[in-house]
Symmetry: C2
């Protein structure tokens, strides 16, 4: 049997390490994010709490997302437009994105070697890596016609 898929352990650990509390609102947000399978932005997440038991303010959502990022519950993602997108780091694990500048299509890719090189480079500078944002822009197969 697997470990619980969406354990708040890492999140709680981060909060504790920062002297922050695992409040009702942070629980709620963690929980909502945990079962999201797709890319999402802060505002759409906020909207999800409307009509649910307790209302959660937009600001609380915006303030909680960086904490979830830092605890590796979510990662930066990619989406249409200028909004910041996120996604849960689920069973498919961490990955990065290619974005077609013509049609907006988003392709996910994984590259363990790049991840390691990143870590190595950070170490060279004495930099402690917490998360990253790696996006490749260009033209997808379908948009290269010819």
């Amino acid at each position: 049997m697997e470990a619980a898929k969406h354990s708040p352990a890492q999140f709680q650990a981060l909060l504790e390490s920062k002297g922050l509390k695992y409040t009702y609102e942070r629980k709620m947000i963690f929980d909502e994010v945990s079962h999201l399978k797709e890319h999402f932005d802060a505002d759409s997440l906020y909207e999800r709490f409307k009509g649910k038991g307790r209302r959660i303010s937009r600001d609380t959502v915006y303030r909680t997302l960086p904490l979830l990022l830092e605890s590796h519950v979510i990662q930066k993602s990619a989406g249409a437009g200028k909004r910041e997108f996120f996604e849960r780091i689920g069973r498919k694990g961490h990955h990065d994105h290619m974005i077609c500048i013509k049609c907006g299509k988003i392709i996910e890719f994984q590259c363990e070697e790049i991840e390691k090189l990143q870590e190595k480079k950070a170490q060279e500078f004495g930099f402690k890596l917490t998360f990253h944002d790696h996006r490749l822009f260009g033209t997808c197969k379908d948009c290269q016609h010819g």
Copy 2:
């Protein structure tokens, strides 16, 4: 003797390939960007044209930057706050950035291996790479105290 440092050739080539004109404004913007040594954002670039011969509108600046990106005259960069930052790809060549989430310090790094792996990954998907944005977030040496 070196080739002209800030030749508009690549930029002009891109414009031509897209059926766009090398207008006075695009010339001016190219020229201004060409001698910028530091990271900059769209609005600060726009401000630079105030008090110079001809006024250039904010919109023209915003519309020209993606063209400069695509022709590899500039690259995405990193800066404080939420603005998009850019910088000329000059003699130090292409590089990426680490950003300290505590003090905001920005460290530049280069990694030829990562660049190659990126290209390889793109090819796997039939994706034609034009530019990328690779930023590492974490804590710099000075901010890890202890």
